[in-house]
């Protein structure tokens, strides 16, 4: 009760829709052509290091990290580089991309050998070499994250987005590499404790992880409540450890999980690391949940990075007969983006492709705010969306600062719960962007 007085942070009771959770991952046939953008991460774009006409194999380096906060890019198919061109990415920005015509043989690059890791620097170098980014959605380069000194490793298996089951499948199908990845990170980064957070709607994953980690000192499994967004980094840290990531760290920068002594890694990220340490094959393929009421055969499918959405859709049986496709969403329905067409490539950090019919895609019209406070109750960060939007409409910089708009994680809970169907989180995003821009100018 006192906790609620301080901060309700109830989240949203989103539907689960995890119909594909029980389906074994299917390997996608090699597409004719892939388009691999050189910017699939937060930070500097990678520099292309192949030329038109070069022949590449699976795992060949095609883009070299453009700085510390950047990541390597590897070819996901074997074949010939057809072009290096500027393409518009699905979220609107332009980026360089490598177009590779596949020969269908999927010959692995002989240069891909398991790395020898003996210390933390070696591990970080290995991670940097394999181009691992936070594949849960943020795309933050993993070696940057792991260079912090912390005492707790959190493995994010919450998968709180509706529809998506890729992390659940990863836990069930690749538990050995998850464990190997956790062991490597704990050993070389000298992290004594590890908590694996899994939402309660995946009991078989919780059971499996519990049994596998029983004999591992310092590793525990934490079942999480079924409230969206349990997988949001700061919410996960609070749920698992009780710690709060500070709004600002001691240097005055926005707080990071490391400021609460934690590093959060997605299960699929840590599993990819485990696979790389074992086989030397970098991040070249990604499991996607293809779901929605407009797809003929919903399934989990492993696709080479850079495969066009259209090819993925065709591999899943195409559009369901008699259904008019209304929306293509990359990622989950709460935080994923809508694509203007199917001609975009799958990125490292994508984990789902949702196809909604026109009926499901058309959202209800907003009506006047009735000030019910559901957005405040739902906000996982304890913000007050209705007040923040009001301040933003009045361009009230001090008001936004007092209400900590910079803490918004854009989880979409406020829009989801709004009975008046208002675009609350969309306006929160505008408010945050405006506030940060004004703050950069020195504030008003």
């Amino acid at each position: 009760m006192f906790k609620t007085l301080k901060r309700s942070a109830a989240g949203a009771a989103v539907p689960h829709e995890k119909g594909t959770a029980g389906m074994q991952t299917v390997q996608m046939p090699v597409p004719k052509e892939v388009l691999i953008p050189l910017q699939m991460h937060i930070g500097a774009p990678a520099e292309p290091c192949v030329q038109k006409g070069d022949s590449v194999k699976v795992g060949t380096l095609i883009g070299k990290a453009g700085g510390f906060v950047s990541a390597n890019i590897h070819a996901s198919v074997s074949g010939t580089v057809k072009a290096i061109e500027d393409v518009r990415m699905v979220h609107g920005v332009m980026a360089k991309a490598v177009r590779i015509e596949a020969d269908g043989a999927q010959t692995p690059d002989p240069a891909c050998v398991p790395p020898t890791v003996t210390d933390k620097a070696g591990l970080l170098a290995a991670i940097q070499a394999c181009g691992l980014v936070g594949v849960g959605g943020a795309g933050f380069p993993t070696h940057v994250k792991l260079s912090a000194k912390v005492d707790t490793l959190l493995i994010n298996g919450a998968e709180c987005e509706p529809y998506l089951t890729t992390d659940a499948r990863e836990m069930l199908e690749c538990s050995d590499t998850i464990i190997a990845g956790i062991e490597a990170v704990m050993k070389y980064c000298e992290i004594p404790t590890c908590i694996i957070g899994i939402e309660r709607n995946k009991p078989e994953c919780i059971d499996l992880m519990c049994s596998l980690t029983r004999d591992m000192p310092g590793v525990t499994v934490k079942p999480l409540p079924m409230r969206y967004p349990q997988g949001a980094e700061k919410t996960l840290i609070e749920s698992c450890t009780g710690r709060e990531v500070p709004q600002f760290n001691d240097a005055g920068k926005p707080g990071l999980p490391a400021d609460a002594g934690c590093i959060v890694m997605n299960v699929t990220s840590v599993s990819t690391l485990g696979k790389y340490l074992k086989t030397g094959m970098p991040l070249v393929a990604k499991r996607l949940t293809v779901e929605g009421d407009a797809i003929a055969k919903p399934q989990n499918i492993e696709v080479p990075i850079g495969t066009m959405y259209a090819d993925v859709i065709a591999a899943c049986g195409g559009i369901r007969e008699g259904v008019s496709l209304g929306k293509i969403i990359f990622g989950g329905p709460m935080m994923g983006g809508a694509a203007p067409s199917a001609d975009f490539p799958v990125l490292k950090q994508n984990n789902g492709l949702l196809l909604f019919s026109r009926e499901k895609a058309v959202l209800p019209e907003p009506s006047p705010c009735i000030r019910c406070g559901r957005c405040i109750k739902g906000c996982p960060m304890g913000l007050e969306p209705v007040n923040i939007v009001e301040c933003f409409n009045n361009k009230d910089f001090d008001g936004l600062k007092a209400r900590c708009v910079d803490l918004c994680v854009a989880c979409g809970s406020c829009t989801y719960v709004c009975p008046a169907k208002r675009l609350v989180s969309q306006n929160m995003a505008l408010a945050k962007a405006w506030y940060l821009a004004e703050a950069r100018k020195g504030g008003k």
């Binding site: 609620t4 007085l5 301080k6 901060r7 309700s8 942070a9 009771a13 849960g136 943020a138 919450a158 709180c160 509706p162 969206y228 967004p229 949001a232 700061k234 919410t235 990531v245 500070p246 709004q247 600002f248 005055g252 920068k253 926005p254 990071l256 559009i319 008019s324 929306k327 989950g332 329905p333 709460m334 935080m335 809508a338 694509a339 203007p340 067409s341 895609a361 959202l363 209800p364 009506s367 006047p368 009735i370 000030r371 019910c372 559901r374 405040i376 109750k377 996982p380 960060m381 304890g382 600062k401 900590c404 803490l407 994680v409 989880c411 989801y416 709004c418 009975p419 169907k421 703050a439």
Partner: protein
């Protein structure tokens, strides 16, 4: 492939709850009160409810038609106002006065301020207060149920002439005494509260803090448990705490704000009842609560996750350099 895909910002799904749905639940929660009123006071209670609901909806419709605004009648909020207003009248109320109450509620209190979401006070409450001050004799012309016991056959439990320690608690609880339509039967109000809580329309903060504080303050002033319980169940206290003080627009947004608001209303009610010139204080207490709501919304906040004391945050913000947010929910 269809080239006319929809592109919108996330999230791409919505909860099923709608404004009309919430108002529908409020109407459902008001049903026990309407049934109790009909049993206690006869069929005219239903007539009165029908007339005020019709008047409220008609006023809202005509006003929006006149101003060429979108017609909001479908959200059922005018129906809720109508029913609550009727519940605040004695059964013998002339119908033309009820229509005046509806006019004050819908036009003056709600639409002149911008319609749903913008009124600073509860429309039905202002309607009640205007009728109470403008038509005092009619508003207090209570009808007493035939089944009422001797002590309550000619006065409400809160009337100065009634010895509250001798009143039967069961009679008060079941509402077998004079009063407004909705407020006499405590049982029906509690049933309504249960429905609202079950449907998640309101949370328990406001009703519990009002009732709890009113009970405690009455107990402190009178020193008698029996009197405190009688006062809790009589007058508009229970009905107001469940249906009127919990109006979304005019009550605070945060749990902390709701707690302060509720205790404030409970305290003011008891002060008016025991030290003011009136037997009844609930409506004025809620009105004062409505007025302090904007202050509470301005100054009473939740504590965001990771929030630090202002001095530190202020100093840090001065040197702050926004970086791309790393965090992301899956």
């Amino acid at each position: 492939m269809d080239d006319r895909l929809l592109v919108t910002a996330s999230p791409h799904i919505r909860d099923n709850t709608t404004t009309a749905g919430l108002m529908g639940w409020v109407l459902a929660a008001l049903a026990p009160c309407a049934v109790a009123a009909t049993i206690l006071f006869g069929w005219r209670a239903l007539l009165l409810i029908a007339v005020t609901v019709f008047a409220c909806v008609a006023f809202e419709y005509l006003w929006c038609l006149l101003l060429k605004k979108p017609i909001p009648v479908g959200d059922l909020s005018a129906c809720v106002t109508g029913v609550i207003l009727a519940m605040n009248m004695p059964v013998g109320m002339p119908l033309w006065i009820a229509v005046i109450g509806a006019f004050v509620a819908i036009i003056i209190t709600k639409q002149l301020w911008g319609g749903i979401g913008f009124n600073f006070a509860n429309p039905a409450l202002v309607g009640r207060i205007v009728l109470f001050l403008g038509f005092a004799p009619r508003m207090t012309a209570y009808v007493y149920p035939a089944a009422a016991s001797d002590a309550l056959a000619g006065a409400t439990p809160l009337a100065a002439s009634v010895d509250r320690s001798a009143v039967s608690l069961l009679d008060v609880f079941l509402g077998v005494h004079g009063g407004m339509l909705g407020e006499t039967c405590a049982l029906a109000c509690l049933a309504g509260l249960a429905i609202l809580l079950y449907a998640g329309v309101i949370d328990a903060w406001i009703p519990c803090s009002i009732l709890g504080s009113a009970f405690v303050f009455t107990l402190l002033i009178t020193g008698s448990l029996h009197v405190a319980l009688v006062e809790l169940c009589s007058g508009g206290l229970l009905f107001g705490a469940v249906f009127m003080a919990t109006d979304y627009v005019t009550s605070p947004l945060t749990a902390k704000g709701k707690l302060i608001y509720g205790v404030f209303i409970g305290l003011v009610t008891v002060l008016i009842r025991h030290f003011g010139g009136m037997n009844e204080g609930m409506s004025f207490a809620i009105l004062l609560g409505n007025i302090i709501t904007c202050l509470l919304n301005q100054y009473v906040h939740q504590t965001p996750l990771g929030w630090r004391k202002p001095q530190k945050a202020k100093k840090a913000a001065a040197e702050k350099e926004p970086a791309a947010a790393q965090g992301g929910a899956r």
